[in-house]
Symmetry: C2
Subunit: 435 residues, 2 copies
Amino acid sequence: MTQATQEKATTSATTAFRALQCKECGAEYEPKATHVCELCFGPLEVKYDYDFLRRTVTRETIQAGPFSIWRYRPFLPVMSDNPIDVGTGMTPLLQAHRLARRLGLKKLYIKNDAVNMPTLSFKDRVVSVALTRARELGFTTVSCASTGNLANSTAAIAAHAGLDCCVFIPSDLEAGKVLGTLIYNPTLMAVHGNYDQVNRLCSEVANTHGWGFVNINLRPYYSEGSKTLGYEVIEQLGWQLPDHIVAPLASGSLFTKIYKGFQEFVEVGLVEGKPVRFSGAQAEGCSPIAQAFSEGRDFISPVKPNTIAKSLAIGNPADGVYAIDIAHKTNGNIESVTDAEIIEGMKLLAETEGIFTETAGGTTIATLKKLVEAGKIDPDETTVVYITGNGLKTQEAVQGYVGEPLTIEPKLESFERALERSRTLDRLEWQQVLV
Amino acid sequence: MTQATQEKATTSATTAFRALQCKECGAEYEPKATHVCELCFGPLEVKYDYDFLRRTVTRETIQAGPFSIWRYRPFLPVMSDNPIDVGTGMTPLLQAHRLARRLGLKKLYIKNDAVNMPTLSFKDRVVSVALTRARELGFTTVSCASTGNLANSTAAIAAHAGLDCCVFIPSDLEAGKVLGTLIYNPTLMAVHGNYDQVNRLCSEVANTHGWGFVNINLRPYYSEGSKTLGYEVIEQLGWQLPDHIVAPLASGSLFTKIYKGFQEFVEVGLVEGKPVRFSGAQAEGCSPIAQAFSEGRDFISPVKPNTIAKSLAIGNPADGVYAIDIAHKTNGNIESVTDAEIIEGMKLLAETEGIFTETAGGTTIATLKKLVEAGKIDPDETTVVYITGNGLKTQEAVQGYVGEPLTIEPKLESFERALERSRTLDRLEWQQVLV
């Protein structure tokens, strides 16, 4: 008996998820593997019975649940009482005293998905939900179009769940993301082209092979997993909303789902409502959303990505317009930063808080800094920054920018000479700074 | 005001830690930065008031604590009520259905410290304890001699806590471990020599610079952090002991501290006592403990390490004799495996459970397999395997052994051809297996 059979869905009485609904025209659909409205081609979203949730879910029922995203199961689009739980979610919300001081902020928090389980990015959230739903819908092969983190996560969680897996990536990804996929032994297709080309190819494959593509035909379920990044921050702040959040923008989906997560908890009475500002971060080398925002456009002009922040390199972002709308209506901002600023952002977070994030996280920290310097974040605001992936996966980006070890012989005098040399260098650097 | 000042120790009424005591002659010492008995040169260990713990700690008081190692604070050698808590510990204990089936076991669990926080190895446990104690003892610079993971952890947690940091490593470590230290901006000394030479050098430095070396003059405190790997398994099994554990052996300290953790929880009445078998894993290229065990020796003959499992490459293990003693008296075993078996172990765990571990974890899984095949683990035993580090840090070890992506053009027919080719290859491989 396979694990998939053992854990076969048993429909739960506490599921509030009812249907799919077009985000544009409101048409409703059966909750199958579909993602586009047949009437207006708008994206489909999951619809819930919020009255039911208001009656059945309390802070206490949530806190009595597992220490993972599945404590929020009634808010997620699965029927099964035994979802695929590999410990995903409930990552630390760390108060960043030292980074806050460096930037001149008072109450700064890092939501640290660089240590999310099992594959060290926020994608483990969306994949845990998507593969649970894929199993319920009877898929035996799962797939995805990925900029790297999604490939790692889909391959790993499919391996754990005993599902066949075929993953598509652009062929120029970082070595750690390629190896960190191959190790789980999926079929791995490296496509000569950028993510947008990979994504178009996968849309064709989804129509012909009957596979569950987590971010295509399962996208309405998949994307809901990101709401848990909203729920957890509320719970970890002691059932309060922050004043301001800063998150990276690739497709824009994460941003919109954090917003939806906040709204839902207000809607069902789990937290008191108040304005929360939403600010987004892009890399200058792939900033179609930031460009549209700064030019006051409500449509996206696709770009060809060219940045070290490969996990954010989506030139034609599906949820870009929704992200712009949220930034506007919450009085937030969308900014972009250079590759050099991204590297500085990675180093700044590591030196002050001991968190090694990937290029996407460097983008977010650099954007935070830029927003603070431009007076676009109030020092008194409770600000939460979302760090979404781990630096061990994008080592190429900082190699050459973090110095070298001091090489010594295993002798005390060799060590003392090296230490003296390094202290002298530190002093000289300081003198240069002071001059 | 620095964070160190903010979080200054406030002595807690619930601390049971009383003194240091020589493990050999029993002589007692003040709990300062010292690790060797002045009378007999035996190692010092922390002494607790178990009567006090029995009276004050229950399963409920533990469960009401934070979701980190600090829920076990009364069993740890710190005075402070606000220890350095970066979310370390409470990593998943995953029931490994698919790996168990592959090996012919019935109840197999993986304790997954490959996703420990913040730096993805069990070392975050010992370092969180050591740096908390270092701060209590007034140290402003912390240091360590490391095979890699300890360097990452010390540099990261020191950065978070605002402590100065100088780290010593052998100069031939994996790129991910070097970069994963430099990013936090410590002083990093790469020593021409193996770990044992690094360690000897650090013992000299500890005497001259007044630094807190986590695994030298702070070793009695540091090593106690590993007990939490025992406590957590008991709690996660529903307050039960397992029948058999398999853990890697480097210095041997981890092994002895899991044992101590189990014993303490029995001693204070938190779990019912029963025999637990302790089996240890080494790499053949550095197996001084396994060699002594197989030859029936109660002393270690130091070796020169030569293995891909660099984080286990300690040729003169400080706690080797204690590990042998525990394996003997619990009816366990100590085995070693080849580098080729280590790589197979890493792949096996990834393919079956979606966990990407480093070479040390490959060593442990390969040893588990060897023990099962030799009839040294009963299929009915509840067996817990300790995975202690993350595969993204030792990518060199498996590069070239996990295949390559199939490179395709962004066109449906290019994908279909590649898919057909890969399926044909799979069939051929199966035919070869069947022939």
